[in-house]
């Protein structure tokens, strides 16, 4: 039956299409601008309208992320691991939805898209298991030359602004999970700017996080143009670190070099993008780099004696 015939068939069901919204402070606001932009598949077919996030939306998200730091960094590592694992459980239940979104976003067949989603779920589980181990590999008992008990412990940096990957095989969901999960596993909170052309898996992830046990504000997800969102994240006084993975390649606002320069004003920690982001294969094993990039090391001294 042709498309037109389907539409004319009175017994055919009209699909309920989805309204995608931002995810800020555990809620789903529309953009304060009231504007949206068209998201298409790789062939240019319209998929949905995504909110066109603004500077104000970004500031609101930073505010929510800052408010959530104390609680999230303060939970036990065991508890954070449980919360992250719960997210993986919820992702598993939505496997078909993400597969469809990834297939549309990256122009992949269902089988390849499903494999990427499975790997993303597994990666989330991998990071869930890191929460109570990272301090043991990144911390130290320092044998100082004196009667002191001296420990170095890793701690979250605070609020991390993330530009989700815009390119590379698997970027729209596996890549997204690969940049977000390590940030929150270590107790940071995140403001994430979704890939501009493929924001739907990111916005759907917000729905998963909202129905898991992740406290509101720990993850905030914005969609829109990177050039609109990124400069605000880079210059914001209350953002402690910046992941430039998805910085756009050209010159001007949203480009990695100008964002890094803006971040220098507040001495933000900056994770630079890959030399060639489009060559990045997100199916590769991640290692601990991203976990360790958003940690501070605190060294505590105390005298020893009787």
């Amino acid at each position: 039956m042709s498309d037109i015939a389907t539409r004319l068939d009175a017994s055919a069901r009209i699909q309920v299409s989805k309204t995608y919204k931002l995810f800020v402070g555990g809620k789903f606001p529309r953009s304060e601008s009231g504007r949206v932009y068209e998201v298409t598949d790789t062939k240019g077919q319209w998929l949905a309208n995504a909110p066109l996030g603004t500077r104000k939306d970004t500031r609101d998200a930073v505010l929510a992320a800052r408010a959530a730091v104390k609680g999230w960094a303060g939970t036990t590592a065991y508890n954070r691991g449980q919360v992250l694992y719960r997210v993986a459980e919820m992702l598993q239940g939505r496997r078909e939805q993400f597969t469809a979104e990834v297939a549309a976003a990256e122009g992949l067949g269902a089988k390849k898209a499903a494999a990427l989603v499975d790997q993303a779920i597994d990666r989330w589980v991998w990071y869930a298991g890191w929460t109570d181990k990272v301090a043991q590999i990144a911390g130290a008992a320092n044998p100082v030359a004196g009667p002191y008990f001296n420990l170095s412990v890793p701690e979250p940096t605070g609020v991390v602004g993330i530009l989700a990957p815009q390119a590379g095989y698997g970027h729209s969901f596996l890549g997204l999970v690969s940049v977000l999960a390590p940030v929150i596993a270590t107790g940071n909170t995140a403001v994430l700017a979704a890939a501009a052309d493929a924001p739907l898996p990111a916005l759907s992830l917000g729905e998963v996080l909202a129905t898991s046990d992740v406290p509101g504000g720990v993850v905030n997800i914005l969609s829109g143009r990177t050039a609109d969102l990124a400069p605000t994240l880079a210059s914001h006084q209350d953002v402690n670190a910046l992941d430039l993975t998805g910085a756009i390649a050209d010159e001007g606002p949203g480009a990695a070099a100008s964002l890094e320069a803006a971040a220098a004003d507040t001495l933000k920690r900056v994770l630079r993008p890959a030399v060639d982001p489009s060559a990045q294969d997100w199916t590769n094993a991640p290692g601990t780099d991203r976990l360790l990039s958003f940690l501070e090391t605190k060294t505590v001294w105390h005298p020893m004696g009787q």
């Binding site: 130290a140 320092n142 030359a145 630079r272 060294t299």
Partner: protein
């Protein structure tokens, strides 16, 4: 005018006056009248004609002239380091280690000479260079020497690679110690270096160049280029430098970070601080007083992690301040080469002017100033140890780094308030806690946004112990296993 507040403090009666116990300036060895750079294993003349003078801040006498490094000088030094990199990085770690162990031993052998030279050039008391700086300098080379052949086990993956040529810019407050913090891990990991010492304290770095020659270090592995900020900027901007390490002010660090944006050079920064030294009502007062004095008057307060904000619990404020003032009255200020001297000279006229300006702002904003009644020498750059009471969080002296012997005293009532005030700063380098209650120490230490937390002690350093800041105190850590990361491609 300042109100004099000496009513509560009686000057202690000395049992005995201290006789002078001067160290011989001759122990510093020969100081040349003028110095060039150390490039490719040789002392060479600058390509430019501009020379700077380094003075003894205690006497204002010129010690030596040294070259203002030009862009061409920096270029030559980076080229020498680049040339040396291939062989040095290919050398087995166990062999690199031997050079570092050798350097460490020579530093120990020549420590008296270096301590005296450091004291003369910097103005800090010989007691501190002899007992703190030099032992730590040697310890850093020993510690990182041992890492050179164990990098596969450092937790950065197997066979981690060096970055290449490291451009290092260090400050004047711990000239030789900052050199050791930077050069030892850089060499252990297989990098070669170009180091620019501060323009007021170049002499011990140039003497260190001689030690590299004595140790037979391959030519070009360590290069020293002297000069002021212009030379530093040329070094950090040099396109063939792979790694920049800077210790100094937050403003300069910020401009370096901006300069390096988009360059892909790896950057580590150790910047300013405004540490809170927090004293609870159950703290052992005498020990706390010693810790406060050490925290702010060690090295004339020229310490980025100095405990420059004293947060004292309101209920013991009077008792603590009386004890503190009594103690401060006993500090001996004067000739840095006298072994009894506690407080030496301010490093430069410019730094003295900065301290003077900020303390004037403290008085103008209404804080109450107190200093002991010590005499200042007639020549040289000096500043009395100074306390400000009645300081609020909005005062400049509570917010800006003074980098001098000036303590701002604030009060608090509850641990939560202490924590909030302590963290209420753009900086996050260090903090101190004084209390007998262990659970409170751990609670505070967990929540303080500071890279180093000293509990019931202060200003302790060790090569095995990572050091570095949160927030605008910079990024990266120096010391310990963590300190290797800044010099490895990870």
């Amino acid at each position: 005018m300042a109100k004099k507040n000496t009513a509560a403090v009686e000057a202690p009666k000395a049992f005995f006056e201290y006789a002078p116990a001067p160290e011989s300036p001759a122990a510093a060895g020969d100081i040349a009248t003028s110095y060039g750079h150390f490039i490719g294993g040789e002392f060479v003349d600058s390509s430019g004609s501009e020379a700077l003078k380094t003075v003894n801040p205690a006497t204002e006498q010129v010690l030596a002239e040294f070259a203002q490094g030009t862009e061409e000088d920096v270029d030559r030094a980076v080229a020498a380091a680049r040339k040396a990199f291939a062989d040095w990085s290919a050398l087995p770690g166990s062999e690199r280690a031997k050079y570092l162990f050798r350097i460490a031993r020579i530093i120990q052998e020549r420590s008296r000479e270096l301590a005296v030279l450091e004291s003369i050039d910097n103005g800090k008391p010989i007691k501190e260079t002899r007992d703190v700086d030099l032992p730590l300098v040697a310890a850093h080379f020993f510690y990182y020497a041992g890492w050179a052949d164990k990098l596969d086990f450092a937790g950065f993956g197997s066979n981690p690679k060096p970055l290449g040529v490291a451009g290092q810019v260090i400050p004047w407050n711990f000239p030789l110690l900052m050199l050791a913090w930077k050069i030892a891990p850089a060499l252990a990991t297989g990098n070669t270096v170009v180091l620019k010492p501060a323009e007021t304290t170049p002499l011990t770095a140039l003497r260190f160049a001689e030690i590299c020659r004595q140790a037979g270090l391959p030519k070009g592995v360590v290069n020293i280029v002297t000069g002021d900020g212009r030379t530093g900027a040329a070094l950090t901007a040099h396109p063939d430098v792979n790694k920049v390490a800077f210790t100094g002010s937050t403003n300069v660090g910020r401009s370096i970070a901006r300069q390096l944006a988009g360059s892909r050079k790896k950057l580590s920064l150790e910047l300013g601080g405004k540490a809170a030294n927090i004293v609870f009502d159950d703290a052992p007062i005498d020990q706390a007083v010693e810790g406060i004095v050490n925290g702010i008057f060690f090295n004339q307060g020229h310490v980025c992690c100095a405990g420059s904000r004293l947060l004292v619990q309101e209920s013991i404020q009077d008792e603590l301040l009386d004890a503190l003032k009594r103690r401060v009255e006993t500090l001996r200020l004067g000739d840095p080469l006298d072994k009894n001297t506690d407080i030496g000279a301010i490093n430069s006229a410019a730094q003295l002017a900065r301290i003077t300006e900020l303390t004037a702002a403290g008085e103008a904003e209404g804080a109450e100033r107190w200093s002991p009644s010590c005499e200042l020498p007639s020549t040289g750059y000096w500043f009395r140890p100074t306390l400000f009471t009645g300081v609020s969080q909005a005062h400049r002296i509570a917010r800006e780094e003074i980098f001098g012997p000036v303590l701002s005293v604030l009060t608090f009532r509850t641990p939560a308030e202490a924590l909030e005030k302590a963290n209420n700063t753009q900086y996050g380098l260090s903090a101190g806690i004084w209390t007998e209650k262990g659970s409170r120490i751990l609670w505070m230490a967990d929540r303080l946004k500071a890279g180093v937390v000293w509990a019931n002690t202060f200003n302790k350093f060790d090569p095995t112990s990572p050091f570095g800041g949160y927030k605008e105190s910079g990024y990266g850590r120096e010391g310990g296993r963590h300190g290797l990361e800044a010099y490895l491609d990870v």
